[in-house]
Amino acid sequence: MNDDNIDSILKEYPAGRQEYLIPALQEFQLRWGYIPGDAVKKLAGHFQLPASTIYGVATFYNQFRFVPRGKYHFQLCYGTACYLYGSSTLQEELESMLGIKDGGISDDGLFSLEVAGCLGGCAQAPVIAVNGEYYTHVTLEQLRKMVDNIRMEESLR
């Protein structure tokens, strides 16, 4: 991303009107998978609000991240049904395998983890999405294999 990119997005939203702040933040999140620090400053100028207000709004909501996503973005469903079917065990395993916590990204930039609100697959619990691709009725063994396979593929590149 660069300044031109940020400006071209901001052009779409009327300046100084706070009700367009969240849609603008969502557009950044959609484009880059996170809210870059530069964007916060630009948004502040555009909406004529202090950068702290922009940051305050962005941090309030679960959707916005401030670190980039990894090449493989794991979303672990943490809805009630998934929890009853053991998503907390999957979370522990994922965190220990990837060496990151919720919202983090691994040092090699390969993995990022997001413990998500309900993804909507209550009948298929527990559910994990990797880069938007869903995996259903996930077991610990499948999860280990999935991560191993990704690591193997990446090491062959």
Binding site: T80, L119, Y134
Partner: protein
């Protein structure tokens, strides 16, 4: 007006029920639940099949029929044959299944039900839907079209009688008459509060202002609730029509749908539906020459449980942090941008068109004396089917759980229901006979909630589930008022302590653990009476309700430090079997608290007082010598 009636005529693609088809007709359930189960790949495979075999057939995507655990659901109607419902059709099985079907051989493993039609040949050995309790015991009024019509085609909705209620409202009634009709019908808000919808509309209508707003609240962030999502994905025009009537009723010319960003399929469906409604002239300026104008915009909620609360929702649409405000002033008099605003739930609005179309008496006949109509429940957890169920108010919960969706999975024992998710009550087996209704449940000390229903079986631990809810509430508390911000945090700490053994290094840990339970009730009381909004006020509801009903579970965790469902891992006791242990010593260095003692080539042992039950030794031992109790 007459010109406007034009879209009502049936075009060739509006054969909604499709009783008699000339070419094979296939529908695939592609709501979120279907998509996650792989319906996209199934849909592609069907199209590939039809292409490769050079078969002239129509394949259409529909919403959710309500049988989420049987997804991907495919319905096939061959010319001359009854419409057949196929369950769990994965893409890899599409070719053999369709090969069989097109030769009139029944794929018995996948056949689930068929629709009776005397004029058509029935499939042998497949039950008819009207014989199946799942379909018979429901009264699908709001969900009538879900899973049946193509949500991306406005003509299909129109063919089912859609948008007639809206035309009736704007051509026959004044705004206040619309409010009267809704009030007369007895419709109450479906998000849990149960406030009479007509009364809410009137207070907006009778407030003087140059601009008024209508907001459709689709911020359904209770984990385990998916009623609103299914309605929007399966029948978006019903919601739009409901909104249009509501906006006319309250005198709003601008309406918003506030919807969770995670509901990407619902958002796409709704965007398309709004576009089509505009093209047909049901939205826009001077609609059908009535002088009434309405525009609907979608606002995507970036994710916050508290934004389901109406004042927080309004703050979020205004671009602020989604924090609630004190009421009064109520949004009905001073809401979005300080203008009168009606905030209604998706299910409430989806009820509106049929009430206007069929009259308030039609609606008032269904349900109980105080709670009219039907209610949709999203049932998930340990039941045989994870499903979306619509029943008349007054139906006992037992009928939903045992008769409609087939009871508990794998013949396990029923444990509890959490009705209304993290801010609802928990119910025991003895409470299953209480009829569903706002006042009926309130009299029993319960509340309806929005319709999320999570069922626990004997393998689930009540305390662990409460711990999950307490952590959820802690994360979702907006932090504005102290009772909620601090209270949810303390609550989650108490449950953390309860589900783990006291820290041996900290002398007062045991006594604090017991003390914290004693503080749970007064803490909950303070939160309930002094929190700013419904989130804080009801954050302790499941806990208080479980304290009464599952006292044994609390005592077992507290005094015996035991979890009989064997869910709370940190309460497990570990020991080493002297017979199996080879004295290899691999486990001892893995123990983070040095609780494993011994010398090489002789049996090791675990000092129970030091053990924190992390389970690392189990993974380390190659001889299965670690015993778990």
């Amino acid at each position: 007006m007459h010109e406007a009636m034009a879209p009502m005529t049936d075009s060739p693609n509006t054969l909604t029920y499709r009783r008699h088809v000339s070419v094979p007709f296939i529908t695939v359930g592609m709501g979120t639940c279907g998509t996650i189960a792989g319906a996209n790949r199934t849909f592609e495979a069907i199209q590939q099949y039809l292409g490769e075999r050079d078969i002239n057939a129509r394949c259409v995507r529909v919403g959710c029929l309500g049988l989420c655990s049987l997804e991907p659901l495919v319905e096939v109607q061959l010319p001359g044959w009854c419409r057949l419902l196929l369950k769990n059709v994965q893409s890899s099985e599409v070719f053999p299944i369709l090969d069989d079907l097109f030769h009139h051989i029944l794929p018995a493993e996948h056949a689930f039900a068929q629709y009776r039609d005397e004029a058509l040949s029935a499939w042998n050995g497949v039950p008819f839907v009207e014989e199946m309790p799942f379909f018979v015991l429901q009264n699908r009024v709001v969900l009538a079209n879900c899973g049946k019509i193509n949500p991306f085609d406005i003509d299909e909705y129109i063919a089912t009688g859609g948008y007639r209620a809206f035309q009736k409202a704007i051509s026959m009634y004044t705004s206040s008459e619309v409010c009267d009709l809704i009030e007369e019908s007895g419709l109450r808000g479906r998000s849990g509060g149960g406030f009479p919808t007509g009364r809410k509309w009137k207070s907006v209508l009778f407030t003087n202002a140059t601009q008024k707003y209508l907001i459709c609240n689709a911020e359904e962030s209770d984990p385990g609730a998916f009623m609103d999502r299914a309605i929007i994905e399966g029948d978006p025009h019903r919601v739009i029509e409901g909104m249009a009537i509501a906006a006319y009723g309250v005198g709003a010319s601008k309406a918003y749908v506030y919807i969770r960003t995670e509901y990407s399929i619902a958002i796409q469906t709704l965007e398309q539906a709004i576009r089509q409604a505009r093209e047909k002239g049901f939205l826009g300026q001077n609609i059908l020459n009535s002088g009434f104008s309405l525009d609907i915009s979608i606002k995507k909620c970036p994710g916050a449980f508290v934004c389901g609360e109406e004042t927080a929702l309004i703050a979020s649409i205004e671009g602020k942090r989604g924090m609630p405000e004190t009421k009064p002033p109520f949004p009905a008099t001073q809401g979005l941008f300080k203008k009168p605003t009606a905030v209604n739930n998706v299910e409430t609005l989806a009820n509106v068109p049929a009430i206007i179309q069929n009259g308030p008496n039609w609606f008032a006949v269904m349900g109980t004396t105080q709670s009219k109509g039907t209610k949709i429940f999203a049932v998930s957890g340990k039941t045989k089917y994870t499903a979306l169920v619509e029943v008349n108010m007054g139906t006992p919960l037992r009928r939903i759980i045992y008769d409609i969706i087939g009871g508990i999975k794998d013949n396990k024992r029923f444990r509890a229901i959490f009705l209304g998710g993290p801010i609802g009550h928990c119910l025991t087996e003895s409470e299953l006979d209480i009829p569903i209704g706002f006042d009926e449940l309130r009299q029993a000390g319960l509340s309806m909630g929005s319709g999320g229903m999570v069922v626990l079986d004997e393998d689930n631990c009540i305390i662990d589930t409460l711990r999950y809810f307490s952590h959820f509430m802690k994360r979702q508390s907006c932090g504005k008022c102290i009772p909620c911000r601090e209270g949810t945090r303390r609550m989650s700490e108490i449950f953390d302590k309860l589900t783990r053994k006291p820290d041996p290094a900290y002398k007062a840990a045991s006594i604090e653990r017991i003390k914290s339970i004693m503080q749970l009730e007064p803490l909950a009381d303070v939160m309930r009476t002094t929190s700013l909004c419904g989130l804080g006020q009801s954050a302790a509801t499941p806990i208080l309700s479980a304290l009464q009903k599952f006292k044994n579970d609390f005592e077992e965790h507290l005094y015996e430090r035991k979890c009989s469902a064997n869910v709370c891992k940190q309460l497990r006791s570990y020991s080493i079997s002297p017979k199996a242990c080879t004295g290899c010593g691999v486990c001892a260095p893995k123990c983070p608290v040095e609780a494993i003692k011994g010398t090489l080539r002789s049996t090791y042992y675990i000092v129970e007082d030091l053990c924190i039950s992390c389970g690392k030794c189990v993974d380390a031992c190659k001889f299965n010598a670690i015993l778990i109790q």
